[in-house]
Symmetry: C2
Subunit: 368 residues, 2 copies
Amino acid sequence: MSKNSDLSRSLTRVLDVNDLGVVIRDTGLDSFVDQLIARLRDGFSSFNSDVVQSQIRSGFSYMNPGLGLVEWMPVHQVGDVVSVKTVGYHPDNPQDRNIPSVLATTALYDTTTGGLKAIVEATVLTALRTGSASAVVTDRTSPNRPITLGVVGSGAQAVTQIHAISRVRPIARLIATDSNPENTLSLAGRLPSGMAEVEAVTLSEFQELVSEMDVICTCTSVEPGDGPVIQLDDAKPTVHVNAVGSDFPGKTEMPLSFVTEAVVIPDLVEQCLIEGEAQRLAPDQLGPTMVEILSEPELHTDLVDTKTLFDSTGWSYEDLIVAELFAEHADRLGLGTMVELTAISSDPYDPLATLRLSDSSRAKQKAQ
Amino acid sequence: MSKNSDLSRSLTRVLDVNDLGVVIRDTGLDSFVDQLIARLRDGFSSFNSDVVQSQIRSGFSYMNPGLGLVEWMPVHQVGDVVSVKTVGYHPDNPQDRNIPSVLATTALYDTTTGGLKAIVEATVLTALRTGSASAVVTDRTSPNRPITLGVVGSGAQAVTQIHAISRVRPIARLIATDSNPENTLSLAGRLPSGMAEVEAVTLSEFQELVSEMDVICTCTSVEPGDGPVIQLDDAKPTVHVNAVGSDFPGKTEMPLSFVTEAVVIPDLVEQCLIEGEAQRLAPDQLGPTMVEILSEPELHTDLVDTKTLFDSTGWSYEDLIVAELFAEHADRLGLGTMVELTAISSDPYDPLATLRLSDSSRAKQKAQ
């Protein structure tokens, strides 16, 4: 029995995109995102940095020939798990290779043994958790009535921003633009059914309509140095903006005037100061953090009545929460493929034992 | 065709410990390690930091209830691949759980797309590359004749240290010790066949024999602060030490007198100063690096005639080299399991497409 449990500890569960499809079709997208929003809200409200230790992401960026980067986002839930999401961001992927610009996987390590417990699809999960984080913040910063939502950038992230926000606020009117008009026109067909009709407009038309918007999401692949993607001088005095695209030094989507005027709500302060909209601010110019507005709501009651900016660079803790939600549903449905990635043997001091064994003697050892 | 190649780019090859067993049994352990030693030697000799960019490892360490850590070791081969080895070190694993203290996997990311190309067993590969790196350095620092080899710490790493060194120097005499006598006694049975007979001795007997040793490997799980594991006052004036165990702040195996007296050869300067034997030295007390003694041998001709210390903390570039050697053999033998970890769809802007498709429509899409 102890031998068996030792063996099972060394197995890694692979949860791939097909497994995720089964989970989402079983649970329903609306219900899965509702659960995710609730988990994120709980996680932020009760956040304790002694229990959840996150590091800002680090990685390699390069021109090869276009901009590319591979980076890792680690978080440690003390006494339980270390989660490391690895993300590739290659903005030429859609046009040149017909694959998403963001590709990601999350690895979950057992902190008792150090073993790799699971490796999980995270490309779709990243889009889902980014949308859901915007929904959690929008729920605290926008009027509690049907809203007019504007979206700048109509690619993959727009889909999950719109859908997740629709779970916390009825969307009365939905206005979208993109530097590529084809993306704006195709957006409606990529949204889950039941969303508001998409008003697909040019950027200048969008600009004319800014004064009517309650909430704006920016989720573009603007090149570093080429922002802002929109002017916000005419925005409502109560507008809330979810700035999702800024995730690289020099890459910002907001006009500086709006960043200095609005209450800036960072998801992860140190990371926002390096690569978020906040990279142009001093630390004392930041507003309360995402964790603070959720854990201390009584201290931040005025957010609905003022201009607010959610500086969403993406937090490794969000990746852990969504990976665990996926893994729980996968467990319930009996999904996943087990692989024997790491070496085990009857003798932990004998690194070559596993290699020496023939397949038949391995089978015998396992059966013991 | 282009659709097919897009699809294949999103698949991840899993190379597990069973695949590694097939490769080693096909190639032969001696031959595999000879190839690895040659690859490491070539990699170090021709090393160019514009082409191979490595970062020092980072991670989370904790007491849970004993010492544990999970850390990642990244390296970027420009224009080709980012490799991230994730390592767990849990020194209580062997005694408490009958599994190795070091558990590791290496993930290889394509820098064109950011996709996860492969995930590879790295527990055994780590032991093999650590032994082979010691062999590469020992070959430059020890007399070119049969040697007397002493080993402090007779666990998993001892096996691969002894075997790899035997590929560059005949081992005339092999003396081993361990804080646990059982490990010393069982070492002979864990070595590949054809090694010298093991003289299994107590630490005090080992200490008496130090003056006869040409090369010493220390590969212990000494607790931080509990070193040194051996005294070297009586060592030969030409002794070479491979210090393998020091890989954590406070964890050192060498007496300070030896570290200050010997030529200290770091594998990765910044990392050695944090967690290697060099953590007790100032940067200007270090000798030439492993790369320097191999890329500029004409500048370092006296290493055989003096006391030398290889400060082996483990370098992510070594992990990339051994993973690629394994992957090449696996390719040749047609090994590995393909998994569809990351999401693909006919539309890179549609993150939900993959989730909406039924299994049969997926199959149709793939067959197009």
